[in-house]
Symmetry: C2
Subunit: 351 residues, 2 copies
């Protein structure tokens, strides 16, 4: 009965095993191809090691140090940096809710909606954008931070008042000294500390692991979605580490159906900052005017206005499945205890 | 020369040593007396060990468990529990700023100030108050939490909408199941989870160590302040663990000079909840109507309206120095990442 040692079942098992190995080899090959394709399309991973990330996000004009990050964290959550003492950076760029406020148009001082009906972009991964604000008017986060602090419908504080408030608290004076080398408190330094903190708000996601070679980091459906995303041309604007962040003509091909909500038309050349797609499923509503709540509708409109294609329902679903691979791990933030106001601290003004 | 062994200098040294020992003994005796005096005046320490605190703050009708605290933390910071999706419990009871908003009258939905010009009391150590709200109408934190959620000038959400919003997010459904044993989400359970979390917001301070027998926990000036505080009668209302928290006639002896700010007159018997003095130097402005920014003025007025005494400047300073011994260690709170809204989540409504 020795001949039966190689039984049919064994042969079948060997065949199955070989197929399995081949399938694995195929899968690996296909994953490698997809990574190559994604990289060629301009997708870039957030580096795996912390030091590389720190180097990447640092601003030579505002170098990060531990003391500056401690200070920046406090100032990010500091409501006394608004005229009313009720609104902080975190009010509209809430780290608990995807780095946004989740409303169509930002609402600030005296419950005023953004006069252009502009939606608050997420602060997470904003460091990877080439420009800041929807019209790209600020070159970096430090410059951006100066805007909402002063804007009348946002935090509505004057430079002088911001400095007076912060400088009235000895604990802050010490912190500025530690962060900047001397205890001079200026409006620019306030924004610089906030900007430094914001630079650390980076959220590595399954896509990063995949781009770094871990083929199992994405499910088959996510991989399929990534393929569709690239094949349809989405990555022509949504690329780089942010999968977004550059200035692009909008709308490019066909009119935007909600263009009449608010009066924002982009920069002088009609260009609008491309939103990051990282954590996109947490940052509804979408578009500069927050007109679209449904991510599927948002993708459909993008196909029409930017690519001139009518995406099928399956393609849209597949792209949205890919977005689940962009949900990132949020940095752990210990909610700060802020210095107590002193007799010298200028009082809140709700008007 | 053996006689010189006991030299004058040795004798002086011995004398000085004896005096030192006596002084230490005196100091210890006097500290023990002060602790006794403080305890007799009704001051009570927050227990030293965590288990004792947990037992003390627990509510048999809403027992604390880890899952409920995790949920309560998220709900405490959850802006979607307000109609606008912009205001959370933490907006007015900000854990970063002494558990308060630091404005005279709370400002909520549509930038509406509290119609009675009521000031937001601190959430820290609120668990130790006998009643909740300035008029004491709620028996506990769970009952209190239901109020601001629904109040039109605060979070302005209906019970139904609060439940709909939370129940629309599967992650919350799971958390309710873990916290309450089944996944039923009710308005009461939302408030109960928030209340449970608030029960843990306890801030042990130098006074507690002193009452537990560490005579060095307070400086001489703080001890002197404590003596004045007791001798003048402050502890007749500001007692218990909270150094406050009971309902007392206000004003008791003389009229309150800022009584015309707002229309609040206390409960039916003209009684007002005594604010806790813990962290009092972080919770300006003072009084139910937030009319007083200067703690020294607040103490002076208290002497007049409640005790019928004209406190001297030195006495007031001394009492305020004692208050520095009430600055407590805040619990470490990791800022939560909240569940993402879904297609089923009712939209924010800023109107």
């Amino acid at each position: 009965m020795k001949r039966n040692f190689f039984s049919w079942s064994t042969l079948v098992a060997v065949a199955l095993f070989t197929t399995h190995v081949n399938m694995n080899a195929d899968a690996t090959k296909s994953a490698e191809d997809l990574v190559k394709k994604a990289k060629e399309a301009g997708l870039v991973a957030i580096p795996d090691d912390t030091q590389a990330v720190e180097k990447l996000v640092d601003n030579p004009k505002n170098p990060i140090n531990k003391a500056k990050l401690d200070l920046g964290l406090k100032l990010y959550f500091e409501p006394r940096l608004s005229k009313s003492a009720l609104i902080s950076c975190n009010t509209c760029h809430n780290l608990a809710t995807g780095g946004v406020d989740g409303v169509s148009a930002a609402i600030g001082h005296k419950w005023t909606a953004n006069p252009h009906h502009l939606n608050s972009p997420t602060v997470y991964n904003a460091v990877f954008a080439k420009r800041q604000f929807w019209d790209g008017r600020a070159p970096d986060l430090e410059a951006q931070a100066q805007g909402p602090l002063q804007a009348a419908p946002e935090m509505a504080i004057s430079k002088e008042m911001a400095v007076k408030r912060i400088a009235s608290m000895p604990e802050y004076v010490e912190m500025f000294k530690a962060a900047f080398g001397d205890e001079k408190i200026t409006f620019k330094r306030i924004a610089d500390a906030i900007g430094a903190f914001e630079r650390t708000l980076v959220t590595p996601a399954p896509l990063d692991k995949f781009l770094q070679g871990d083929e199992k980091a994405l499910t088959s459906a996510q991989k399929e979605g990534l393929k569709v995303f690239i094949d349809k041309g989405c990555a022509s604007c949504h690329n780089g580490i942010a999968l977004g962040g550059s200035m692009q003509k909008f709308p490019a091909v066909k009119p935007y159906k909600y263009a009449d909500i608010g009066d924002f038309k982009g920069d002088k050349e009609g260009r609008v900052k491309v939103p990051t797609l990282r954590n996109i499923l947490e940052t509804a509503p979408y578009y500069h005017n927050g007109a679209v709540w449904d991510i599927k509708e948002a993708v459909k409109i993008m196909g029409e206005t930017q690519l001139g294609v009518e995406l099928t329902k399956d393609e849209i679903s597949s792209i949205v499945t890919f977005f689940t691979a962009l949900k990132g791990r949020k940095p752990v933030v210990v909610y700060p205890v802020l210095p107590a106001s002193t007799a010298k601290t200028p009082k809140p003004d709700a008007n």
